[in-house]
Every structure is written in C-alpha cells, then in structure tokens.
Symmetry: C2
Subunit: 188 residues, 2 copies
C-alpha cells in the first residue's frame, strides 16, 4: 500500500485538512512522495471509513468549511504494522535516464541542455532542503539527533539532500563526457 501510509505518516505532524496535507506533500514529504489534492481527499475519505483517521467538521465564516483529520489509535497501529513489514527494493524510473540510455542515436546537445537544467533544479531543491534541515535541527545537529522527540522528517530530508547532490554530480560528469565527445569528433 502506498499513499495510505504516506498520509498516515504525514498526520504525525499534527491534525490537518486535505488542503493542508496537499501542501505538506509539496514541502515536508516532497522529496519522496507527491500526491494531488484530489487523491488526498479520496484517500482521507477511505481512511476515515476504515477508522484510521477521524475527521471533525469546522464551520467557518467567509470561507469554505473544512474537515480536520487526525490519526486515531487504529491509524497509529496500522502505521506501526506497516513500519515493521519489509519493504521492496526500489528503483529510479526517470525520463532523463531513458534519454541518456538513448543518447547515441539522438541529439547529444539536447541531452546536455536537459542535464544542465536538471542540475539547476537540484541546486534549488538543495537550498530549500538546507532551510528545512536548519529549521528542524537548529545549529547543533548532533544534539538534535541525539535528543529530539521527532527526527523522522530530518532523516528523510537528509536522504533527499544526498539524492539531489548525487544528481548534480552525475549530471556534471555526464555533461563532461558528452562535451568531450562533441569536441573530439568535429567530423560529425
């Protein structure tokens, strides 16, 4: 099961509406999970029916009413059970890699452009993640990791940061390789 447990995990940060969750899925969990708003609403409906979250309607003036969802005990239990079952190994699945695989019969310059663009995007993500990490840990990472009540989001943000850095490293290397080839064979 996928989104189900991601939603339950997100609700550990506190009760939230579908609308609020959809933002957290663009920030806190953004590195490892995306979900559209519609999907979250649908999932929350299912989770509520299953008793894993409980929703409270909040009537508002001047703006639409909202439904705040919080984890139930059953939800926590479900999450704990999920955490204890082994995970499948994962893989990348990235369009850019398909393009790299095909580079020998396609336009190398186009790939170089996309590698540069991807590296830039990763740089931006790193800057954002650094702010997230600093906000979570303050200025003493070791102390934070040793004592804080909640380190899960920090662990995942670190993974995200490593991933983005690795992406930049690979893009840079691949660009170098491709540029050398273009420069070295002016006959084409």
């Amino acid at each position: 099961m996928g989104l189900r447990h991601a939603v339950l995990a997100a609700l550990l940060d506190g009760a939230a509406t579908g609308y609020e969750l959809s933002k957290n899925f663009d920030v806190g969990m953004a590195e490892f999970w995306h979900a559209r708003r519609q999907q979250l609403y649908a999932e929350l409906t299912k989770l509520e029916q299953a008793g894993l979250v409980s929703g409270r309607e909040i009537i508002q003036q001047g703006r639409p009413n909202k439904r705040v969802q919080s984890l139930t005990e059953a939800g926590r239990a479900e999450l704990a059970e999920f955490a204890a079952t082994p995970s499948d190994p994962q893989f990348l699945r990235d369009d850019l890699l398909v393009k790299a695989y095909a580079v020998d019969v396609t336009d190398g310059s186009a790939l170089i452009d996309q590698l540069a663009q991807r590296a830039e995007q990763s740089q931006i993500k790193i800057a954002r993640l650094d702010r997230v990490l600093a906000r979570l840990s303050g200025n003493d990472e070791d102390a934070f990791l040793a004592d804080a009540e909640r380190i899960g989001p920090y662990l995942t943000a670190v993974r995200g940061r490593m991933f983005e850095e690795e992406t930049i490293r690979w893009c840079t290397w691949a660009m170098q390789v491709l540029r050398k080839r273009q420069g070295g064979t002016p006959d084409n």
Copy 2:
C-alpha cells in the same frame, strides 16, 4: 509517456521479442525501469499498431513461435523527439522513507533491520553493476567514453551505481543515529 519510450530505447540494443525485452528490463534497464512481461506485450502491440516498431513472426520447431520487434524509422523519430522535450523533475517514492519519516512513533529496531537489509541489497546491486560496467568499457574507461559508439547504457549504469552507493551511505548513517538514540536512552 513512460513505458513507451523506455521500450523504444531498449530496442536500440537490437531487435528483440517481448520475452527477451522483459529480461533486458531486469538487467540493462533494471536500475531505472521495471516492467512486467504482460505490460511489454501490450506495449509492443500498441507500438506496432502505431508503426513505431515492426514485428516479424518467426516459426520455430519444438518451441513456441516468436515475434521479433525492431525499431522503425518512425520509432527512431519518436524517440528523438522525446529526447528533445524537457523532463519533469523526479523524486524518490520509497516505502523505506515513509517508514523513516514515521520512526518516532514506531519501532526503531524494526527500521534498523530494514535499513541493514536495504544496504545489503544495494551492495549486491553494486556488484552486478560493476560487472555490467566492466563488460561495457573493458579496462580503459576514458578511452571507452571517448570513442565507443554506444555509451548510453554506460551512463545510466553509472547513475545506478551512484544511487546504490548513496543508499548505503544513508542507511549506514541513519542506523548509527538510531542506535545511538537507543543506547543513550535506556529508560524507554
């Protein structure tokens, strides 16, 4: 479009049957794309109808007939166009990260076990990728990258290797953090 272009890219390595492709998707493209056999047969049917691949029936004795698919010019053109259009930024989507995110309210030891297991799996993948890389490049990587006709599969295998190494580094670090916490707070 996803699988569509992954299949076209895989066919750059030569004409193949759905059955053969499904193996290549377990080896050459394994780092960045998985596909079930059924999915490949379905996709090849669609691609053939669209004229992007052309199949030739081969009658065999003593074993089932097979249908060898090869890229058409239209298929190459489609792949080139795909390679030239910008890619969406990607992300991870990994159960293990959801579990890490939730670690503060679940069983830390269970996560440590899974981190260890993941690190082992990555180690195995690295060994396999090293064989792939060595087979592709021979003993002189620089010369290979400068002169070889086909370097796409090498570029992607390198990305896969980096990714697995990074996975191990993160797992090791996270395990250390979690172990220190368990050791340091014997009151729980």
